[in-house]
């Protein structure tokens, strides 16, 4: 073996594949990574601190900006935590709308993941196809709540807007289209030998690792651990829908890819069921006092965001503002495992593995 000198390479915070402003200080020997130190905090905005001075309605737009790829689930988790603590009853219609938008948001988020992940392994085109389909979801959200990314759609006790006329039909058509379209993605990507070479057996997460690092989302499901909060701790009206939780076997990148692809199909199935069972009448807001005073107490709820278990821990002292609000941000938990996964890999694998974890820096940094 040739003795080579180790070199410190600073990847990020500005780097084409760092998915935001993550910084990795990597010690490499040739292209093999010997040590790795993730540095986060470049996007820390102190949401939890800011929220202590805001009332519960005002927090909702702030959550849009945590995981900016699935703002709907973020909206939901803070509303759900508040509602749980207040013991509010949510109108059925609002719950159905919530489920529809959350599942569509899951598809939008997974599509973006798919595109950027393939960009990380060097395929340019699927990114644009993913954006084409994601765009349709975003325009539907735009019609529903007037924004494409920062929805601010949910309120404590319900949702802000009812579905506009004809919107549900659009959603249903899109769900059909998307289920079909995923087959095209499979044809374009799943069989591609180069893609298989790049993902099979790479970045294997073991069950022990997944549990120890509290991974969630596709990162834990790819190892075969059945951990989906929609099934395990059902919230909203998820118990009314029939859907499967796709599981992997080996925990490598390919399994993660298939988990997420199948999750998109399942999410679209949920959307279809929700549109079919959509309640005719009813309000979109429950009985909510004008000033939201949350009774004293403490609550932790977790929901299944596209990235994993998104939790919200609220400590209330009976005021209209939370005493302490803490978000359990799945990307933050999932990113920790990178340190263990990446040592011994080369730079090409680093980019692919990091892409597969699916982090959103707005969420990691809070």
């Amino acid at each position: 073996m040739l003795r080579t000198e180790e070199m410190v390479l600073n990847l990020g915070p500005q780097h084409p594949s760092m998915h935001g402003v993550l910084r990795l200080v990597v010690k490499i020997d040739g292209e093999i990574i010997r040590e790795i130190e993730p540095v986060v905090g470049y996007l820390h905005r102190g949401t939890e601190k800011l929220a202590e001075d805001l009332n519960y309605t005002q927090i909702i737009p702030y959550t849009d900006r945590l995981d900016y790829l699935s703002s709907m689930t973020n909206n939901y988790v803070v509303c759900h935590a508040t509602e749980t603590l207040m013991g509010l009853e949510i109108p059925e219609k609002a719950e159905y709308l919530r489920v529809i938008v959350m599942e569509m948001n899951r598809v939008a988020s997974h599509l973006l993941w798919l595109g950027t992940f393939l960009l990380d392994v060097g395929a340019l085109t699927p990114f644009l196809y993913c954006f084409r389909d994601r765009e349709q979801i975003l325009s539907m959200f735009n019609e529903l709540c007037g924004a494409r990314l920062t929805y601010n759609y949910m309120r404590v006790g319900g949702v802000k807007w009812d579905a506009p006329a004809g919107w549900l039909d659009k959603v249903k058509n899109f769900a059909d289209y998307m289920i079909n379209e995923i087959q095209n993605y499979h044809e374009l990507i799943s069989g591609n030998e180069i893609f298989l070479q790049r993902t099979k057996g790479i970045g294997v997460i073991t069950k022990e690792m997944a549990l120890s690092y509290s991974l969630s989302g596709a990162n834990i499901r790819c190892t075969g651990i059945d951990w989906d909060l929609r099934k395990k701790q059902p919230y909203s009206v998820y118990d009314r829908f029939d859907f499967k939780v796709p599981l992997g076997k080996t925990g490598d990148l390919l399994d993660k890819y298939h988990c997420r692809m199948d999750e998109m199909v399942e999410a679209m199935k949920i959307v279809k069921q929700a549109v079919e069972g959509f309640p005719e009448g009813g309000a979109t807001m429950g009985k909510v006092p004008r000033v939201l005073r949350v009774p004293e107490g403490e609550v932790y709820v977790g929901v299944e965001s596209p990235r994993g278990e998104l939790g919200c821990h609220i400590v209330s002292k009976g005021k209209d503002k939370p005493w302490r609000i803490k978000f359990r941000r799945p990307s933050f938990y999932n990113l920790q495992v990178a340190k263990e996964l990446l040592v011994g890999q080369n730079i090409a694998n680093l980019v692919a593995i990091l892409g597969s974890i699916d982090i959103v820096l707005g969420e990691v940094d809070g």
Partner: protein, 205 residues
């Protein structure tokens, strides 16, 4: 639909949890307006999880120390979450017991957060057992001035960054942590922002 389910259990979600928190003397919170229709104060129906939390408390008292558990109660609004307040001297033993004992096997850390109560700091740990599908919540108090707790990073790797985050934002020093540095803020930052007496360096935008 969790809200509906809870609504079916009369008064359960709307009753202040402090009532069961025998060990935690807390004022009954202002109610009425906030919880919608004012309701009569009724004695709580016993939670179905009450035996579970009693069992945990008994186990800790027997195995570790009679003083280890400060209080044990059910957080009813939060889906009947068994909650135990543990003295910090015994905390690491309790954590080891709950992770390693095969009939408990709390192998998954759901959440790890810190709270500043002005009188003391508290960390809240939600654990989950994959095998049994059970949740448990631990709370450990520590002094504000000398905020020190044992680290959990040897038990759950997930605790590593979470403890760094809590250290960064609340200033709790986790003893035995392999890499106790600030998580988000720069190393030369003064103060810990999530403490209630923290004065922002830069007022306003």
């Amino acid at each position: 639909m969790s809200e509906e389910k809870e609504a079916k259990k009369p008064a359960a979600p709307k009753t202040p949890r402090a009532a069961q928190a025998a060990g935690r003397a807390r004022p009954v919170p202002p109610r009425g307006r906030a919880a919608g229709k004012p309701k009569e104060e009724k004695p709580l129906p016993p939670s179905p999880k009450q035996p579970v939390v009693d069992g945990y408390a008994k186990l800790i008292r027997e195995k570790i120390s009679p003083e280890a558990v400060e209080s044990a109660f059910i957080n009813q609004p939060n889906d009947h979450l068994p909650t135990l307040v543990i003295k910090k001297e015994f905390w690491i033993q309790v954590a080891e017991l709950f992770k390693n004992q095969s009939d408990l096997a709390f192998d998954y850390m759901q959440n790890y957060s810190g709270v500043d109560y002005e009188t003391h700091l508290e960390v809240v740990v939600q654990l989950y057992s994959m095998a049994r599908g059970e949740r448990v919540c631990f709370k450990i108090k520590t002094d504000r001035e000398v905020a020190k707790l044992p680290t959990l990073s040897n038990l759950w790797s997930a605790a590593d960054w979470n403890e760094r985050e809590i250290y960064d934002l609340l200033g709790i020093d986790f003893e035995g942590h392999p890499d106790m540095r600030r998580m988000f803020l720069p190393e030369d930052w003064v103060g810990h922002p999530l403490r209630k007496d923290y004065v922002p360096l830069d007022e306003g935008v």
